[in-house]
């Protein structure tokens, strides 16, 4: 066999191996991607995505957003808060009283109050429910606001 023809044959063989291997490998990853996409689709019906804002307000006026936090369906606000922050609480009957969030404790004048974002009015709405009694819905936005107990002004 001539040298050029021989070189050509071996080049074609090498390219064939490369083409088949890479195609198979790409297909392998595509299959894995599709499987994971399917699993994610199944999981999405079992989990909720919520946005949680921790507004330190009167403490130091800083804010901490936890967007698209994934929590199991049926989770309460208390469970979701535990997932994103260090919470100290005290059970009081069937309610959980929040003592502190991320080390910022309630005082006589100020403390943690939670608000919910109302999409229809685009405003924060006050609530009276205990955090461990409020079951979250998908896509909700909640704010833990450190504020004066007497204040009725929503988070800024």
């Amino acid at each position: 066999m001539q040298t050029t023809k021989r070189t050509l044959v071996f080049t074609v063989l090498a390219l064939t191996v490369w083409a088949i291997s890479t195609t198979a490998y790409a297909s392998y990853y595509y299959t894995k991607y599709k499987q994971l996409e399917h699993t994610l689709g199944t999981m999405q019906s079992l989990v909720l995505k919520v946005n949680i804002l921790i507004d330190y307000g009167e403490w130091n006026e800083t804010q901490e957003w936890h967007n698209a936090t994934l929590v199991p369906a049926g989770s309460t606000l208390f469970n979701a808060t535990l997932a994103v922050a260090k919470v100290d609480s005290t059970p009081w009957g069937e309610y959980m009283l929040i003592n502190s969030i991320n080390g910022v404790e309630n005082s006589q004048d100020t403390g943690w109050i939670w608000w919910i974002w109302d999409n229809s009015t685009s405003q924060w709405k006050p609530t009276l429910e205990a955090a461990n009694k409020y079951v979250l819905a998908d896509g909700e936005t909640i704010c833990w606001n450190y504020q004066n107990w007497a204040s009725t002004s929503p988070p800024s």
Partner: protein
């Protein structure tokens, strides 16, 4: 296929070495049987290479550390025999050019023949388990790539030194000096 005594002795020694290595516990798909089978094909011709592949894979099918091969064994035999026959074809076209060229050519042949072997065995898996052939190949692609990469390295690094070592045998001298 008619072998002289010395050729037969070489065949048996290589078969024993190949089976010994094949039956030693090792990582999956890292093997030297393909290289030795190809080498036997180069040294002793297509029929001997094909028979060598058949023999080694038949023994391996029963005694492999991974267990009895079962229905996949015929596909392994066909795949390995083809590697032996390919060695004979390589011999027919002669091993010419520099040692570097031989290293590259043997590495490319190693990768191509391993790919062919893997396709054949994956076809076997697909037929046995009744899954689409493409699916079987894609599922086993990680093992195939490991197999191809290791054999490319092994053929590239070991074929030329092996040929030099066995050059003292008359048959090899004829091929190498072509």
């Amino acid at each position: 296929m008619r072998l002289q005594t010395r050729q037969l002795a070489l065949f048996c020694a290589l078969a024993a070495a190949s089976i010994g290595i094949q039956l030693t516990p090792r990582p999956p798909n890292i093997e030297s049987t393909s290289l030795i089978t190809f080498f036997v094909g180069v040294v002793l011709g297509c029929p001997a290479g094909g028979f060598f592949g058949t023999l080694v894979m038949l023994v391996n099918g029963f005694l492999s550390p991974w267990g009895f091969a079962g229905l996949i064994m015929p596909f392994q035999i066909v795949g390995m025999s083809l590697i032996g026959v390919a060695g004979g074809i390589f011999r027919r076209y002669g091993i010419t050019g520099s040692a570097t060229r031989t290293v590259f050519e043997s590495a490319i042949l190693g990768s191509f023949l391993t790919l062919v072997y893997d396709i054949i065995t994956n076809v076997g898996v697909a037929l046995i388990t009744n899954v689409p052939i493409v699916f079987a190949f894609i599922t086993g692609v990680t093992f195939s790539l490991m197999h191809i990469a290791s054999n490319t390295l092994l053929f590239g690094l070991a074929f030329t030194p092996l040929l030099k070592t066995f050059k003292t045998f008359g048959e090899v001298r004829k091929i190498a000096d072509n």
